[in-house]
């Protein structure tokens, strides 16, 4: 199966419009105000999809759909958000469990019909969907069971995030299309063959990125003594103007480099402020015991960012048997979205959509979270995938001893 950027763009827009239609139904019924924030298509390990929802208490509805496209969709509300909705439909209804459940089911039914109908209209066909199944629990419980005959680790997920105006909570629409029907439809909606990217290579690239994240995590561990684990790695596709929204408006500390070669683009290593102080303290030979971010902390973060960046991109260079140069790291300390915005704008001078590579790492020991985001230029990414030899996928490490 191949996908081209044009059909990914079309699918992204369809999912976004579907989510907007679903949200409009919700707003009309409840009088609440909500807006679709981001829609993206992600290639990710099926087992990792629920990670973003893991800490929370959710309610929602699942549907199966069948036709030219087949698969599952889920509408996920956090519990307090769903109570607001239920109360706006049936005042006091949230107190009555059966009523609350039935309201969520019905509202989900109406919203998701709108979502599915958009796809059917575009494909000029009908897509059937099952009655809603009410689900509640933590993140993993909200998502449908992966099919038993799943041969693939990685799946495409379409995800829209919808924000309540004036509230800090969001809700989500997920769509898990089955692989074969999706492949058929993508092949049909694709543009010229030149632009096409073989999916198996994207999957391999994703695996290489996972190795890179593990290497970066190992580097953190070696420099700080803090046991660090690579968590989720995903490759997403979104309109360029949605790229800065991938990182929130919280303040981050980290490094940015531009990398050149095959592939080329920008790479960010970001820590939340508290993590930055913790991790920098752990790198210092002497205890500083400062809660505020000092210049010494920044210098340590700058070097850590540099080393994590190398850990991340070296694997690409070694598998592709090429070299990927990067600039010295630039230290950033600003609101996340403002850090990403100039990079998205630079990439956006040549393309309307972008691939985004996101990785996260965590540790149990102390409060610590790090994110790596790469924003490759499409042209060079396509060339890199073109030159990628799948059988070299595990040759991410170079052997110094062999050369010196």
């Amino acid at each position: 199966m191949k996908v081209d950027v044009k059909s990914l763009g079309t699918f992204n827009r369809l999912a976004h419009e579907g989510a907007e239609q679903a949200t409009a139904s919700l707003c009309q019924m409840t009088g609440l105000d909500a807006v679709v924030d981001v829609t993206k298509i992600t290639l990710v390990n099926r087992a990792d999809v629920g990670d973003q929802l893991s800490d929370g208490d959710y309610v929602g509805v699942q549907f199966e759909f069948d036709g030219e496209l087949a698969g599952d969709t889920v509408l996920v509300f956090d519990r307090s958000g769903s109570e607001t909705i239920v109360d706006s439909l049936v005042p006091g209804g949230a107190e009555d469990d059966a009523m609350a459940r039935s309201s969520v089911e019905e509202i989900g039914n109406i919203m998701m019909s709108g979502f599915i109908d958009g796809w059917a209209d575009f494909l000029e066909t009908t897509i059937e969907h099952s009655p809603p199944t009410y689900v509640e629990g933590d993140g993993a419980a909200m998502l449908p069971e992966p099919p038993n005959d799943e041969e693939r680790d990685q799946v495409f997920v379409f995800k829209s995030e919808i924000e309540w105006i004036g509230e800090s909570v969001s809700f989500y629409i997920y769509m898990f299309p089955e692989y074969d029907p999706l492949a058929d439809v993508m092949a049909r909606t694709g543009g010229t063959e030149d632009d096409a990217i073989p999916i198996d290579k994207l999957e391999v690239f994703n695996e290489m990125t996972k190795d890179g994240t593990q290497q970066a995590a190992a580097n953190v561990e070696m420099m700080t003594g803090i046991e660090t684990e690579a968590e989720v790695t995903r490759l997403s596709f979104a309109p360029i103007e949605d790229v800065p929204k991938q990182v929130g408006t919280d303040t981050y500390v980290g490094t940015v480099v531009e990398f050149t070669g095959i592939p080329s683009g920008f790479l960010l290593v970001l820590f939340d402020e508290a993590s930055a102080v913790h991790i920098a303290e752990a790198m210092m030979p002497v205890e500083m015991d400062e809660d505020e971010l000092t210049d010494q902390h920044k210098s340590a973060i700058e070097e850590l960012g540099n080393i994590m960046t190398s850990g991340f991109v070296d694997g690409w260079a070694n598998v592709l048997q090429t070299s990927v140069e990067h600039t010295p790291p630039r230290l950033v300390h600003d609101m996340g979205q403002a850090i990403v915005d100039p990079l998205a704008a630079q990439v956006g001078q040549h393309q309307e959509h972008a691939f985004i590579i996101d990785s996260e790492m965590r540790t149990d020991d102390i409060e610590f979270g790090a994110e790596i985001h790469a924003l490759p230029n499409e042209k060079e990414l396509r060339q890199a995938l073109d030159e990628l030899l799948v059988e070299r996928a595990d040759e991410t490490q170079a052997d110094v001893e062999k050369i010196f």
């Binding site: 580097n219 070696m222 420099m223 790198m283 030979p285 010494q296 210098s299 340590a300 700058e302 070097e303 540099n306 080393i307 960046t309 190398s310 850990g311 991109v313 070296d314 260079a317 070694n318 048997q321 090429t322 070299s323 990927v324 140069e325 990067h326 600039t327 010295p328 490490q397 170079a398 052997d399 110094v400 050369i403 010196f404």
Partner: protein, 119 residues
């Protein structure tokens, strides 16, 4: 005790290397880019240069190339976060005598230096 020049754009890394090296060696200078590395090398003629690769103005491989051209007997150990095979080969072509990847442990730094400038 050898005379060592440290070239790295990261203050944090220069401090770390100095702490590891100053017990057994004489640090003759700490510089932040490839141009300063070449200049300082030509003034001081240290026994060894610990050279980062990714630095502003001029990178460590170009600087190594120039130092080796001016004095083929110069000793340069690359000390870098870059772990790409092609880069290592470039370093060999420029004449580097050793290659340490960051993050490193003290013993591996000592060992690499011992190989290049035996005490």
């Amino acid at each position: 005790m050898s005379d060592v020049l440290i070239a790295d754009d990261s203050e944090f890394m220069r401090n770390l290397l100095r702490e590891i090296l100053e017990e057994d060696h004489n640090i003759v200078g700490e510089v932040e880019n490839g141009v300063e590395a070449v200049e300082t090398y030509k003034e001081q003629h240290p026994d060894l240069v610990m050279m980062d690769i990714v630095m502003p103005i001029r990178d460590g491989i170009e600087a190594t190339d120039e130092i080796k051209n001016s004095n083929p007997d110069a000793n340069v150990i690359m000390c870098t976060s870059v772990g790409q095979e092609e880069k290592m080969k470039e370093a060999v072509r420029a004449g580097a005598d050793g290659y340490i990847t960051k993050p490193f442990q003290k013993p591996s730094v000592m060992e690499a230096i011992e190989d290049v400038v035996p005490s």
